[in-house]
């Protein structure tokens, strides 16, 4: 791979985007890539919008990407896809969780959740949409939603040359291994 690639994972604090990025990074490292990632901690833990970036290739410099530079965006919440859409390359792909979380400003009655997030994204970008929450709930635990989305991401990026199941098994806590493997397969099959 001559050109480097970059991914942006966006969601709401507590949705598990950082663990997902960790699985991605562990797999890329195993495959021998130079990898850099950047995440923002701090106040974003408290229900705020969060983003994690991963940049990989033979040699990469910046851990951070700007607008128009992401090959893929994985949105754990559909309004967050809209918020970060301008980070996508024109030919980039968005994997979007068809899942809605009100923000604290919506809960406070200050504004309303915007209509048509998915449709707007689909009109302008290549999108793979899945209801990861429902898939995760059907597997018995809504918390594995992040790995469901990761399954969709792997398919979208055509990264099948890496043994992701082995990477997931090594990265997630042992007692959630089976659940997360099922989540990965279900997410892969769903898009």
């Amino acid at each position: 791979m001559k050109e480097s690639k970059s991914a942006l994972l966006v969601g709401v604090g507590g949705q598990g985007a950082i663990l997902t990025a960790k699985v991605l990074v562990n797999g890329l490292m195993k495959a021998g890539y130079d990898v850099k990632m950047s995440e923002v901690h701090g106040m974003s833990q408290r229900g705020g919008s969060v983003s994690t970036q991963v940049h990989w290739g033979e040699k990469v410099w910046s851990p951070v990407i700007g607008k128009g530079a992401a090959d893929i965006i994985v949105a754990f919440e559909k309004m967050e896809a809209v918020r970060y859409a301008d980070f996508l390359k024109p030919d980039g792909v968005a994997v979007i969780n068809d899942y809605e979380m009100a923000s604290s400003s919506i809960a406070a009655g200050l504004c309303e959740y915007p209509e048509g997030c998915l449709e707007a994204m689909q009109k302008h970008y290549r999108c793979l949409v899945l209801n990861a929450e429902k898939i995760a709930e059907n597997l018995g635990n809504a918390k594995c939603m992040n790995i469901v989305l990761f399954g969709g991401m792997v398919k979208a990026l055509h990264m099948d040359d890496i043994d992701w199941e082995a990477v997931i098994a090594e990265t997630v806590p042992a007692k959630f291994k089976e659940l997360n493997l099922q989540a990965y397969r279900a997410g892969y099959a769903a898009v």
């Binding site: 990632m37 995440e39 701090g42 408290r46 229900g47 990407i65 607008k67 128009g68």
Partner: protein, 582 residues
């Protein structure tokens, strides 16, 4: 050895370990916190602690270096404001063993109250400044920083930014170099900062800085990469990585890791080898102004600007006018600000204060800063650590001048109380402040991710410690009417603030309930549900500002994934439509 993926902060901890650091003291603050969270793994080789504040941390680390141990402290950028006093004096007195002070700046203010550029501190205090770009450098430069500290008899300022501290990249580890503690020898002629000594020390400091500048011209932290003679870039810190992504292959770089004092001979040599010279740095034109003052023509801030953090695409746009095109989606995301968690003990206090329009609340730094956000809107000010008490004092004294009857409640958290709230509590008693200090005691340093403090009963190294009781400290200062309240009981909370406001004797309130996110203690978790037949859609429950409550089809709904059953919303519902199911 295989490379491992480390954040900048993890790598700094590792670097301190490898450099033989023995004594480490810090106060948590984003984005610096993980440095010290990653030190206890080396506790067989070094001592590490959370100090009550940054000034204490620097003083402890400085004392350790006087006594002959390589020492470390770390803080966020504004923490260095708190710690500045001993730093400036340590610069004059010098060190015995190496001392490194890490400052983690926060361009773009991801979780800070300002965007100050702490490189200026190094210049003002006349101490060496080391700036790494990635995690490998975070580790390797620590070793160099200790070397420089000992060679030039000065504490070293080691500056990162949020992106250096929180980005992860691959690091090749090294072995620890054991540094024996040199036996302590009494030396007041060096370490006692009398005016006469300071008078003698200033020329010594100026001389050391001259020598350090000379050292910087050849030291391994500063490196020249000549790839062509058309364009050259002088850069440091994370901006180096962005610039490497942005400039063409035939661009030459002068990558600086030792940035105070600037190696002007090296810079002149580099500048003479290129036709066009750029200086790429985030925030202030720290290097650029000095380079221009040395008579070297260069381009920088007129293109890149002083504001916020960079990224490669932003630099491309500002330097070369390449603007990425994005389609107009026709729909916009609404803001998603951070909020107090469902079940947060601060909610009950701030909801109570929001119902009293004649109360003024002076807030402080921590999770409870969020009590000032909508819909609670229950804080008038937030200035700095400890300011909750003392800014309130100034307001209360001024209100008294005009006979304004509004009552001031000054608010700090438990960790902030130990940090710099105690001096404010003394000020209020001593100078007869007509206000009520309130400590929101959630038993932990919350916002930075749960660090222990003098009230939590545990140390950074996991040992059981004396648990300082806030109410006892307040009582010993002279507060005669101290109420301890559970904020989740809204009736009791309201009674407490009303009584405190009316008190004839000095009153204080300790609002006590542990943060729900603390592991290892039993929390009372349940779920609240709305009886939609009883709900009249009045939205009273929305006024508590809980992320778990929504209104759908004109009725309240509680997200069962988020609710923890604190019942604050149930207590404000006028129709009794919300109940807790066990």
């Amino acid at each position: 050895m295989d490379k491992v993926l480390l954040s900048g902060n993890e790598a700094i901890a590792r670097g301190a370990y490898e450099a033989g650091a023995r004594m480490c003291s810090a106060y948590p603050g984003t984005p610096s916190t993980e440095i010290f969270e990653n030190l206890p793994q080396f506790k067989d080789a070094l001592y590490c602690e959370w100090a009550p504040n940054e000034k204490v941390a620097v003083e402890v680390a400085y004392g350790a270096c006087i006594a002959g141990a390589r020492s470390l402290c770390a803080m966020k950028h504004v923490g260095l404001n708190v710690a500045a006093d001993p730093v400036f004096t340590a610069a004059y007195n010098g060190v015995n063993a190496g001392m490194v002070i890490v400052t983690a700046d926060d361009p773009s203010m991801h979780s800070s109250q300002n965007e100050q550029d702490n490189r200026h501190y190094a210049r003002a205090a006349k101490i060496p400044l080391v700036e790494p770009s990635d995690s490998q450098e975070c580790k390797d430069f620590m070793k160099e920083a200790y070397k420089i500290s000992e060679l030039f008899d000065a504490p070293v300022l080691f500056r990162t930014t949020t992106r250096v501290s929180h980005s992860k990249s691959l690091v090749a580890l090294g072995e620890r170099e054991e540094k024996e503690i040199t036996p302590y020898v009494r030396n007041p002629g060096k370490f006692s900062c009398t005016p006469a000594l300071a008078y003698r020390n200033h020329p010594k400091v100026e001389k050391h800085m001259k020598e350090l500048e000379e050292y910087g011209n050849t030291c391994c932290l500063n490196k020249m990469e000549i790839r062509g003679h058309k364009v050259g870039v002088i850069t440091a810190s994370i901006a180096y990585l962005y610039a490497k992504d942005v400039f063409p292959e035939d661009t030459s770089f002068l990558k600086l890791g030792l940035t105070n004092p600037l190696p002007m001979k090296l810079i002149k040599d580099f500048a003479s080898q290129v036709e066009k010279l750029y200086v790429i740095e985030e925030l202030d034109p720290f290097m650029e102004e000095q380079i221009k003052a040395a008579g070297i023509d260069c381009v920088g801030k007129e293109l890149t600007g002083n504001l916020y953090e960079f990224n490669p695409q932003l630099l491309k746009e500002r330097l070369f006018g390449e603007k990425p095109q994005a389609p107009d989606l026709g729909v916009a995301a609404v803001s998603r600000p951070p909020a107090l968690c469902p079940g947060c003990p601060h909610r009950g206090f701030f909801y109570t204060m929001s119902r009293h329009k004649n109360f003024i609340v002076t807030g402080d730094i921590g999770c409870y800063t969020l009590g000032g956000a909508a819909p609670l809107n229950a804080a008038d000010t937030c200035v700095c650590m400890g300011g909750g008490f003392t800014v309130g004092m100034g307001i209360a004294k001024t209100l008294a001048l005009t006979g304004d009857p509004r009552k001031v409640f000054g608010v700090v958290g438990d960790s902030t109380f130990f940090h710099s709230g105690m001096t404010g509590a003394a000020e209020i008693i001593y100078n007869k402040g007509n206000m009520v200090p309130v400590v929101l005691d959630n038993s932990i340093t919350g916002m930075t991710g749960h660090q222990d403090n003098p009230g939590s009963g545990k140390t950074l190294q996991g040992e059981i410690a004396e648990k300082l009781r806030i109410e006892k400290i307040l009582a010993s200062m002279g507060y005669e009417f101290i109420q301890i309240v559970d904020p989740q009981d809204l009736k009791a909370m309201d009674e407490a603030v009303v009584k405190a406001a009316a008190s004839e004797v000095p009153a204080a309130i300790v609002v006590r309930r542990p943060c729900l996110l603390i592991k290892g203690i039993k929390h009372d978790i349940g779920k609240c549900v709305v009886d939609t037949d009883k709900c009249i859609g009045c939205k009273s429950c929305l006024r508590v500002g809980c992320p778990a409550i929504l209104v759908e089809n004109k009725k309240a709904r509680i997200d069962q994934n988020q609710c923890v059953g604190c019942t604050v919303c149930a207590q404000v519902c006028p129709k009794g439509a919300i109940t807790r199911k066990e």
